[in-house]
Symmetry: C2
Subunit: 625 residues, 2 copies
Amino acid sequence: MAKVTFLPIQTTIESGEGEPLIKTAMRAGVHINASCGGAGVCNKCKVILEEGRLTGERLPDGGWKACASFPEGDVVVRIPVESQMDRKALEKREPARASWMRRHSEGVFYKIDPVVKKLEISLPEPTLQDSVSDLERLQRELAQGKLQGMSLEVDSQVLGELPHALRDRSWSVVVSLMDSAVKGVQRLIRVEAAGTSTAHQAVAIDIGTTTVSAQLIELSSGEAIKEVSDYNPQVSYGEDVISRMEFARRGDGAALLQEKIISCLNGLLSELLGDGMESLGFISIAANTVMTHFLLGLDTRFLRASPYVPVASHFPPIRAVDLGLSVPGHVRVFCAPCVASYVGGDIVAGVVGVGVHRHPDLTLFIDIGTNGEIVLGNQDWMACAACSAGPAFEGGGIRHGMRATTGAIEVVDIHPETYEPMALTIGGRKAKGICGSGIISLLANLFTTGALDQQGKFRRDLSTPRIREGRDGWEYVVVEAGATATGEDIVFTEADVENLVRAKGAMFAGYLTLLESVGMGLEDIERVILAGNFGSYLNLEQAITIGLLPDIPRDRFFFAGNSSLIGARAAACSTEVMNTMDQVAAMMTHFDLSENPRFMEHYVSSLFLPHTDASLFPSVKSANN
Amino acid sequence: MAKVTFLPIQTTIESGEGEPLIKTAMRAGVHINASCGGAGVCNKCKVILEEGRLTGERLPDGGWKACASFPEGDVVVRIPVESQMDRKALEKREPARASWMRRHSEGVFYKIDPVVKKLEISLPEPTLQDSVSDLERLQRELAQGKLQGMSLEVDSQVLGELPHALRDRSWSVVVSLMDSAVKGVQRLIRVEAAGTSTAHQAVAIDIGTTTVSAQLIELSSGEAIKEVSDYNPQVSYGEDVISRMEFARRGDGAALLQEKIISCLNGLLSELLGDGMESLGFISIAANTVMTHFLLGLDTRFLRASPYVPVASHFPPIRAVDLGLSVPGHVRVFCAPCVASYVGGDIVAGVVGVGVHRHPDLTLFIDIGTNGEIVLGNQDWMACAACSAGPAFEGGGIRHGMRATTGAIEVVDIHPETYEPMALTIGGRKAKGICGSGIISLLANLFTTGALDQQGKFRRDLSTPRIREGRDGWEYVVVEAGATATGEDIVFTEADVENLVRAKGAMFAGYLTLLESVGMGLEDIERVILAGNFGSYLNLEQAITIGLLPDIPRDRFFFAGNSSLIGARAAACSTEVMNTMDQVAAMMTHFDLSENPRFMEHYVSSLFLPHTDASLFPSVKSANN
């Protein structure tokens, strides 16, 4: 790997494979003006080569475009004066980031023992003296062997395949047995001739409000051998759960939403399994309460109104074909249990998936998705709450907000004196909008550079064309029209800031309310686990800067990634994990914040950057302070 | 009721309502020549009115047609000389008949406790403090009440109806709970709002090879409130189980047979329930092993070939909609367990339905249907066997054999000197053929009058045009062409006799083989129970005469009627009966007669009328002896 040294600040960092200089600079915390997102259009990102060789695009004045230049071996480049920040600004940039958690999915914490197991057995051939039926012959053998002392229930569809499976390979078969919810009861769901039996796989699925992710799991090892994802097609009928529930009430709305998610799952299953659908043993799904209700075709009407009652919070295994999934008839869908209308199976799966329930440390588990959910607790107790944070951190309700796809501004750095941005887009394409991580870095930078005050208002007195009064009030111009994909300015408005402040305020008030309910404070938190895909792109420092995360030692933060999917996968690999989810869902004390007066007080106090009570954020300083 | 006295034999009998004289005479054992079946065509059935008044048809010579004349008050009629038999012949005609059994279906022997029970409960309304899901609320209430200490499984489809059922009548609901095969486990299959809940009914069905009968049962009382029946439409693809299994092997044969029986059941269900399909709790079916396999879409290939192994002999409850039945989704089908390929759920249901298993007397249970099945035993043990008797006694393989429908000759009496017949048809219409009971009475009469010898050959030396050498060998003309519906003679051939002798021989050899296997003889039989619709039309004396039934005291014989349906109904009314069927099926020792050398010996000895060993039939005398 090539080493890149940036002058004048003397920072050296290894270049990533195929990484343009501007990305390397961003990782190093080195600011280079760039407002086209790295698309090579704005010509602002000039660097001067001092040592070594670069390939890429040169500028007419002899400099190189950082967004289109790549090191050939070690290089030293100089940031031109118009991009330079003084050392003081640089020093504020701590490189602290949350660590990735060692995942449960590595198979460390549970033994592979899925809810459906395959078992090979050989039967004595029938004779005139022993001419019991095929099924009884099989049951007798099971009763004498593996299932001694257990009860066996039989899926009626097994009967159809039974006589041929038994005779295909001289009475040696592989049976699939499913653990029943009732102790001591097994269910025979499938019989295959030995030798013709396919692999034993499961699919774990996280159905998010926005994104659906699925993993194909080899059940012998617990390994995820393939992962695919897709947008939740229900998005067309409402960005968030509330608008979708509204849609579901109208006419065939609910049926349509169910149909959409089923067809999405069918697509993912087919991508994962292709012609190998016969290998599928079962499906493990984790989803929030509303998504689970839509999936199962359950009425969501009563989720919405006080006292917010789900139809069910523990779901019986359901035959996949009954839901419309195009899979073999023996396949069951297991849904992770929910706690309440807005604390769903994704959270329970996440908490169990990352092992909050088996750790003595006081843990704050946070999922900032379309909605925000919080769990506080450890192996002995857990409290949870949903914060109606809204989708601002996913780009919802933000003027130029968008999902994290190609062309989305994902990271922004702002020059503390000139307020010139260094904006990078996903895929290095012309900017189309700003995604969640971009929004946070924008908000944090505008605040730390002093362009935004504690109340979330732009300073009106700065001599920069980037801050101006626009159509909708004051705004910051992130990318000028000429360099965008849309041909119009991409701006970040005071209204956007207000939405974000409300969203982070709701989250933060949630932490405080839960902590207070058990007589604790922020300082008592021993671990913060950031769940959701959002967590993985999050710049921890910036999230603390804006008051979205508590200002506690950085080494207490961990990214879990898609913990809901991790949990769904763990449940697929282990019946014990499934049972644990039931126990954890039952042990969680749910706080309904919507009518909680303490939450309202905390919320109001949190509508500042980072908070009214500055003592809660000792490490956060803005240029205004 | 009018009294009818027949002269010269001085027999007096009450006339049945709307009964023509000829039928009254037949019941009284009085012979009147009549060869048109009672259709008023042959003009042979003359009687002379001596006292009282008749209405009906007079003959030109002043006599009355017995088939078209009805008494108006008490009458005395004289049989003309051409119809008269001497007193000696009359004396042979004992009136002994089997009694009808007191039926289990009267609810005497089991308490009404069906496998699906309805239970009304009221739940506390949810509040913010108690906002558990609808399902948990219901489960909690059940666990504290009726289901204390039991496990509850939940049908996923219950979830869909749950929120509305709970809220429709302020949290009072009627739940349907199904006993699971596993002890201590109940399954929630349905929730209705209290007050809107429908009746609680079941349908019991007997699927015979030829006829399908169904009863609608009110589960509160166990009463059958409606009964319907239909031919088994599979008949078009084979009269007997063997030919249908043959058909099933070809192409989509099996699927077609399943489709046919399902559509037949749908028709019967719709006749029974009409718009009230919601009242249906479940379906209880008894059928022979082959019919059960066809119903469930199971391969029958292995039933046919040694060692004759069914796919299953105990069947898990099956969702009716999965079979294609047009009923609500909660409805399950329970099939009576089978013992072997040719001793099926109809026999097990029959044996349990009539209570063989709870009686100390040694009982011979006989079902002479398309196939013949025999059970020997009592409350302590049971042995069973199938005799490939063939469908001769249902008219199959008999030149003019037919089913028992309008126009079928159902009873025949033959004049011992003139060999003139007195033949009556069902519905008094022109004869189309001869049904089972007619065949037996024909065979018995031909034998007792001496027209047939022990070997089943017609006497060649009789001076009657009724016995002649026809197209297919020697035959007896039952009805001449001019008086039949078909315009051709209806005859009874030596080949027919041979088929019947083989059929009754197989049955009789079966009795002897089973008895011998437990070291017993015919004299040890304390009860004979005749099952099947066939039994109820059977003239006991004649059946003994031809050697179809053992020659033991007549008061030991009982008709059970459609015992399979009686059993299916008992199973519908009582889980205990269902469980008893499983136990009885398991306790029955099955004898495979097809490869049993003792059976073959008995069979060969039984190929005579009534038997080679005349000492086995002390009361049977033919005119030849």
